[in-house]
């Protein structure tokens, strides 16, 4: 069989060829060209440029937030977060799939994609607080508080924790010491001990190891951290908030991931900036646009733009100079 790319005489090419007469290049006049030399020169140039940029600008490395750091910098936030985990009102507790079935999750065109994904990484938000307390073999009052919590009915527990979370919200600065008296059961003791565990520096280990010496999965620790306000406050201070073109940037004045601008862009404008389903909608839109980019050569109208806007006459100006268009030649 003939090599499929070999140029055949125009007469044999049939209808398809009339629409697109562009030939393989192998039949055009040529001139010497050293591809290997071009690549080696490019490699040297890029290497030098990289070394230069790295030497001048370095790279950012803001240390990760530790649980102890969080507890020191924002103890009230840790207590409030722990109360919300126990009350089942934190972001993770009310998230839905893949962590729990507390919410329907987001939808695209009514299709509950998030729910369909299933609860495959089960996370019990109350356990984010209770498990470390249990493992930490805390002091007697904490153990007693744990026992009280465990023996209470679910409604009672929720009632205590919700009341305490609300009271914290009303206290000046969320300060646990300034909370009005109320019926909070063992919750104040539990959250206070939780703060101590966090301060001791052992919390991330307890959340990540889940019985395995090697740990390595930060899911629960990161969910807990992002249930608090401290992570987001720290990010906002670095201009990394979701409505500040958040995740495409990085700390400091570094370029980050500018190639994600289009994805991040949608979050900044309505209807997405105000939608409950923004994540799913933006993802769906980006998938459609991505398919559009991939199959752009097949989309009438868009694929004709480069023919109509004569940037190509600039790119190939040498060629067009030497091959002026003949009168009457189709454009």
């Amino acid at each position: 069989m003939a090599i499929p790319t070999r140029t055949r005489p125009v007469a044999q090419q049939g209808r398809r060829a009339k629409e697109d007469r562009t030939r393989d290049s192998h039949s055009f006049a040529t001139r010497p060209y050293d591809l290997v030399k071009e690549f080696v020169a490019a490699l040297i140039a890029v290497s030098l440029l990289t070394v230069g940029l790295a030497a001048i600008f370095s790279s950012p490395d803001e240390p990760a937030i530790t649980m102890a750091g969080w507890a020191e910098a924002a103890p009230n936030d840790v207590v409030a977060t722990a109360a919300a985990e126990l009350a089942g009102t934190s972001t993770s507790a009310s998230y839905g799939a893949p962590y729990n079935s507390a919410a329907e999750g987001q939808k695209v065109l009514r299709a509950p994609l998030q729910k369909w994904g299933g609860v495959r990484i089960p996370v019990d938000s109350a356990a984010l607080v209770l498990a470390p307390l249990t493992q930490a073999r805390a002091d007697a009052p904490t153990m007693a508080a744990l026992a009280t919590w465990r023996s209470a009915a679910a409604d009672t527990r929720i009632g205590w924790a919700t009341a305490y979370a609300d009271a914290l919200g009303k206290a000046p600065d969320g300060n646990p010491a300034a909370v009005a008296a109320g019926s909070y059961g063992p919750v104040p003791v539990l959250t206070r001990s939780f703060l101590d565990v966090a301060l001791s520096g052992g919390l991330e280990g307890q959340l990540t190891s889940s019985g395995n010496f090697y740990g390595g999965d930060q899911t629960r620790a990161l969910l807990l951290l992002s249930d608090g306000a401290y992570l987001e406050d720290s990010a906002r201070a670095q201009h990394l908030g979701g409505d500040q073109w958040g995740m495409m940037n990085e700390t400091g004045d570094y370029p980050g991931q500018p190639w994600m601008w289009l994805y991040t862009f949608w979050y900044q404008v309505p209807p997405f900036s105000t939608s409950e389903n923004a994540d799913a909608q933006v993802w769906a839109l980006m998938m459609v646009l991505t398919l559009g980019l991939m199959f752009l050569p097949l989309i009438p109208g868009i694929r004709d733009i480069p023919r109509l806007v004569p940037v190509h006459r600039l790119i190939w100006r040498d060629y067009y100079r030497d091959h002026p268009r003949r009168p009457g030649q189709a454009h």
Binding site: S25, F28, D61, G118, D217, T219, T251, D279, L296, P306
Partner: protein, 213 residues
């Protein structure tokens, strides 16, 4: 095979998987076009350099990534040499994307998908996507504040379409492996396909150029 006319069958090598594969390899790129020492006369513009620059930057990205891997995932936090290698890795990535985007726009304005080159464009677009995924998992593998924040933000997007459990951005062990194994393999493989396709068809002729002019 049985429908091949008798006269043609005589000239074919005996059927075997090996022969079929060899035929396929040999006929993928026309003879002499894999690494030609000549180019069509119309190949004279700086825009052509950007494909090669992208390839060169990818080479630097992979090389610096390999050096980072030698010291392990936390090395660059504690070693000034490690930090410098990380800077090399970061800036070569920025250059890689810069070159690639210019290359993409160049190919758009040249309508470089003409003449059976649609697959070249498609593989390029997939390379772009796979590269975005690779860079993204790179940010998640830094084990610093950026990783914490970016993963906390990104989980909502990926969970909203129901795949967050399989691609768990909060699991840095998984993200690191995607970043250093799976996605680089994907980018590498698609780039090889892309470049082979470019050599298969040769560089696209100017818009409205006549055959063999």
């Amino acid at each position: 095979m049985s429908s091949v006319p008798r006269a043609e069958r005589v000239h074919r090598p005996p059927d075997s998987w090996t022969n079929a594969l060899r035929e396929r390899i040999v006929s993928t790129v026309p003879p002499g076009q894999a690494l030609p020492d000549r180019q069509p006369v119309y190949v004279s513009s700086w825009i052509y350099v950007f494909g090669v620059l992208t390839l060169a930057a990818l080479t630097v990205v992979v090389a610096t990534g390999c050096v980072l891997a030698v010291g392990g995932s936390a090395w660059w936090h504690v070693s000034s040499l490690g930090h410098f290698v990380n800077s090399l890795h970061l800036w070569s990535v920025e250059l890689f994307f810069g070159f690639m985007v210019i290359h993409l726009w160049g190919k758009f304005w040249m309508a470089a998908w003409r003449g059976n080159r649609v697959l070249t464009w498609v593989t390029g677009a997939v390379a772009f996507l796979a590269s975005i995924g690779t860079a993204f998992t790179g940010y998640l593998s830094q084990s610093n504040f950026d990783s914490q924040w970016i993963s906390a933000e990104a989980k909502d997007g990926i969970n909203s379409i129901g795949v967050g459990a399989w691609f768990n951005v909060l699991n840095p062990g998984q993200m690191l492996l995607w970043h250093v194994v799976l996605l680089p393999l994907a980018v590498g493989a698609i780039t090889v396909m892309h470049v082979v396709l470019v050599r298969r068809h040769g560089v696209v002729p100017p818009i409205d150029a006549e055959d063999g002019e």
